[in-house]
């Protein structure tokens, strides 16, 4: 039997990046975890469990921490969420489980559910145990999954739990999608993402890397598999549409985050402008600070009330030293052969609510690097050209309970269906689709002529 080389062994994170991006929130130790676990009221039909897109039985896993049953705690979590480790780090818990905690109604701090989940999952990973799933005999069915992000990974794990072969195709060399490439290192280290995916690979999930799936490849996969899961996420980040946008010194937030996480970018120039005010924009701005930029400015055409970043992300950016320019819009990129400045125009709201530039308000911010974070385009053209599945504004339409698309052999989940939400939403989608595919293949098998 050939020696298995794990993803973690293949892709060593850069030591410098690891040092510059230490955990934003250090793990709980036993002395902190046990009292926190004991603080949980053990609600019935707990609101935290309902608020979790994957419906982790939160009180159950927390009480297992309290009782010292860490293995059982991790199993409880993994029963609902195969990417529990990355979710415990990347989830915006204040708007999910912790936001739903009844303690919020009691003038008390909500239970630190995310930190407790991470405590249980860290112990699980330290134990070296495999995923606690009993794999049934192979059914002989096979599914191709497009994209190696959280949605496909969760779907593949679910398929293996139903005895269905799963092969994941991805254009990049590493699995994990945004989990590996796109989440701030201080929230979810690249190594943590890979460590978690190594366990999914152990379930017998196959990976085909460096494989771009276009319409032709998709047709080939459809012909050779019983079903296809679409989990390729979103496309490239939008561009401003200004002259000089191809100039060195203009990049986008996803490339920037990927660049430093993979060790390709180790420093930042002195002045950085980040255009946009979403969560990814904040990750990019904070990264620029940690990579050595002295002036990092976020540029947003509306005010802080309208920014799409979570409040806690905004607060974090302010603490990192990021500055904000509100109600401004880029009108020109200044520079000879590399970026030297970004010209901005101040905006005001017109009577109908649309934003219009204030005449004569233009000014140029001297910057060395412009990072665009103004939303991602969709990546579904290769599907719609052939009429493979129905989409709406570029998003694949699915039945939310099963993940099934307009084409019964195609299922989908994650950002390519919801326009871009959280890792945990992709995991929930993938899990439901996995169950949906298994049910669909089973019923087809039953109805097939003998």
């Amino acid at each position: 039997m050939p020696e298995v080389v794990t993803f973690l062994e293949q892709f060593q994170p850069s030591a410098e990046i690891v040092a510059r991006f230490p955990d934003l929130h250090p793990s709980l130790d036993r002395q902190a975890a046990i009292p926190e676990a004991n603080r949980c009221l053990f609600c019935f039909d707990a609101p935290c469990m309902v608020a979790c897109p994957t419906h982790i039985d939160v009180p159950r896993f927390i009480k297992k921490i309290a009782s010292g049953n860490l293995a059982g705690s991790a199993k409880t979590i993994l029963e609902s969420n195969v990417l529990a480790s990355s979710c415990s780090r990347a989830c915006p818990v204040t708007v999910l489980c912790e936001g739903a905690c009844v303690m919020n109604h009691y003038n008390k701090q909500p239970i630190q559910i995310g930190m407790l989940q991470r405590y249980a999952m860290d112990a699980f990973h330290a134990s070296g145990a495999p995923l606690p799933y009993a794999l049934p005999p192979e059914t002989g069915k096979a599914v191709a999954l497009i994209g190696a992000g959280p949605a496909s990974l969760a779907c593949a794990a679910e398929l293996r739990r139903h005895g269905i072969a799963a092969t994941i195709y991805d254009a990049r060399p590493m699995p994990g999608g945004l989990n590996t490439y796109g989440i701030a290192e201080y929230k979810l280290p690249l190594a943590e993402s890979l460590r978690e995916i190594d366990l999914i690979a152990q379930l017998g999930v196959s990976f085909e890397f460096n494989t771009q799936v276009d319409a032709a490849k998709l047709a080939e996969l459809e012909a050779t598999h019983d079903a296809v899961f679409l989990g390729m996420g979103l496309g490239a980040i939008h561009r401003l549409g200004l002259a000089n946008e191809q100039m060195p010194g203009v990049t986008n937030a996803l490339d920037y985050i990927e660049g430093y996480k993979t060790g390709a970018i180790l420093t930042a120039p002195a002045s950085v402008a980040v255009v946009g005010a979403g969560n990814t924009a904040i990750d990019a701005a904070n990264a620029a600070v940690r990579l050595g930029a002295t002036d990092v400015t976020m540029i947003y055409r509306r005010g802080p009330e309208q920014m799409s970043a979570f409040d806690f992300e905004y607060e974090h950016a302010k603490q990192e030293g990021v500055q904000f320019l509100w109600h401004v819009q880029p009108t020109a990129i200044v520079g000879e052969d590399k970026v030297e400045g970004l010209t901005l125009s101040m905006l005001e709201a017109s009577a109908d609510g649309s934003l219009i530039p204030i005449a004569g308000s233009e000014f140029t911010l001297p910057v060395d690097l412009i990072v665009l974070a103004i939303g991602q385009a969709t990546h579904t053209a290769f599907l719609t050209e052939q009429g493979t599945v129905k989409t709406e504004r570029g998003r694949i339409l699915i039945d939310r309970a099963t993940g099934q698309t307009s084409n019964p052999r195609y299922f989908a989940g994650g950002d390519c269906t919801n326009g871009g939400r959280e890792v945990v939403d992709a995991v929930a989608d993938g899990k439901r689709a996995g169950i949906g595919i298994a049910a669909s293949l089973k019923s087809m098998g039953e109805s097939a002529p003998a």
Partner: protein, 479 residues
């Protein structure tokens, strides 16, 4: 201003807080520091032929993150020479003449040995004597401690010997490791004891190390049963105190012991008739300084209730403890969930379904509040679980698991399930089916929010009647 000064069995005290005979009263140096901290008296660590102790000696029960909910020891009586203890008693009394120093004694069960010990302790200046008939470990194997306390005849015999020569008040300390504590209390009273103290520690094995399979405390790989004390034993102690104080053949001035750590605990023991209280575990946990709030808190409470002295409220709760057969079975209370305080944990719901009478439902948004109340007294009308066919807990969970939830995007998905601000959603607030409620208290006990679930009186229109009276009236009717 109320005062804590009191007299216990003829011993004048600055306050009713004594340190029990235990490690905190091992030597004069400790006891004098305790007096400085505010303790009114101390019962010296039991004096007798010096012993050799083992290590380790203590173990404890932690509960829900709280340390030392229950405490256990296998330490024996004093390991110091009798002369040393007596010399230090004399010194403590000389330097703290207003404080009570009680000599706890335990010697061989021989009349002349006890006579000698009593005389020496009194000559040293002890204000009183406490006879340790309660120690449940080690000493009992040598025919002392609870080996005496568990046999009323021995207890009576030795108490009698002591009373033959004692000039100071004699307090007999009782063991709880007996079927009916009144038997040994009566024996002590028959022998002429001046007072009792109760309870000593309870036989216990606090727990077993799941790696070594050896119980705690571990003495070179083995353990032995110890004596249990601390907050966990207070209810047992209160019950035994009540038994003694309600029994005419037992009742004597009683020094209450068992899980006392605050002024509230002390007030409860005194309300059941204790003349003072003794403390050990709480002082071992937090130090002598705890007596400051015990005194301060008790004085504040006494002032708020209009009590001037300990005697003003001593025993006030005794008339409120009845036998079950004397309780009014026609009195009815039902649970009332105050929606404005409810945080939606639904612990009352699961407790009522699994542990009580299935009369709490989560149906406020499904017309549950419109359910007619039939006005029957459920204790007699209902014997069927869930007569209205309400969803079971498993069905409720099943519905939740089927729900599709997504992470709310700020400014887009306001009011998502994760948004904890605002009040508790009505759908999370349980409702009591008043008609079905048996008034058991369970929901109000599990509810984490004070005053969120109250048990409210409901008029039954029936005159008060006890079970005893009902049986008597039935018998009369039958005749």
């Amino acid at each position: 201003m109320p005062t804590l000064e009191n007299t216990f069995a003829g011993i004048k005290c600055l306050n009713p807080f004594w340190l029990a005979s235990a490690p905190p009263t091992n030597c004069g140096e400790q006891i004098m520091r305790a007096f400085d901290a505010g303790w009114g008296g101390a019962v010296w660590k039991t004096i007798g032929d010096p012993v050799t102790n083992v290590s380790s000696r203590y173990s404890s029960i932690d509960w829900a993150g709280q340390r030392m909910m229950g405490f256990n020891n296998i330490e024996l009586i004093s390991d110091r020479p009798i002369e040393t203890n007596l010399r230090e008693i004399a010194e403590a009394k000389r330097r703290y003449p207003k404080h009570a120093v009680i000599a706890s004694l335990m010697v061989e069960s021989k009349r002349e040995v006890w006579h000698d010990m009593v005389k020496r302790a009194e000559e040293a200046g002890a204000d009183g004597l406490e006879l340790n008939f309660g120690c449940p470990h080690g000493m009992s194997e040598r025919g002392m401690g609870s080996a005496v306390g568990q046999v009323p005849e021995y207890c009576e015999q030795i108490s009698y010997w002591v009373k033959e020569v004692a000039r100071t008040p004699v307090i007999v300390k009782l063991t709880p490791n007996i079927t009916d504590i009144r038997m040994s209390a009566r024996a002590a009273k028959r022998a002429g004891a001046d007072a009792l103290s109760a309870i000593n520690t309870i036989n216990s094995i606090t727990g077993i190390d799941l790696d070594t399979f050896t119980p705690n405390p571990n003495v070179d790989g083995k353990s032995s049963h110890g004596g249990y004390c601390g907050p966990a034993v207070k209810p047992i102690a209160l019950n035994m105190v009540q038994q003694i104080q309600s029994d005419a053949l037992s009742v004597l001035p009683l020094s209450g012991i068992g899980g006392i750590g605050s002024w509230r605990d002390a007030a409860e023991f005194i309300l059941l008739g204790c003349g003072n209280v003794q403390v050990c575990t709480a002082a071992m946990h937090y130090g002598y300084r705890i007596v400051e709030d015990m005194a301060d808190g008790l004085l504040e409470w006494m002032a708020s209730k209009g009590f001037e002295t300990i005697e003003d409220f001593r025993g006030l709760s005794l008339p409120n403890v009845k036998e079950w057969k004397q309780l009014n079975i026609n009195s009815r209370i039902v649970a009332n969930i105050h929606a404005d305080k409810c945080i939606g944990c639904q612990l009352c719901y699961t407790a009522c379904w699994d542990g009580a009478h299935q009369c709490i439902h989560v149906d406020r948004t499904e017309g549950g509040l419109d359910q007619p109340v039939l006005g029957t007294d459920p204790r007699y009308a209902q014997h069927e679980a869930n007569p209205h066919g309400k969803p079971t807990p498993a069905q409720v969970i099943g519905l939740s698991n089927k729900s599709v939830t997504m992470t709310p995007i700020p400014k887009l998905d306001l009011g998502g399930v994760g948004s904890g601000s605002g009040g508790t959603p009505l759908s999370r607030i349980p409702r009591v089916d008043v008609d079905e409620c048996v008034g058991c208290n369970l929901c109000s006990l599990v509810c984490p929010v004070p005053d969120c679930i109250t048990m409210d009186k409901v008029e039954t229109g029936l005159p008060p009647q006890s079970w005893e009276e009902r049986v008597a009236s039935r018998a009369a009717t039958a005749q």
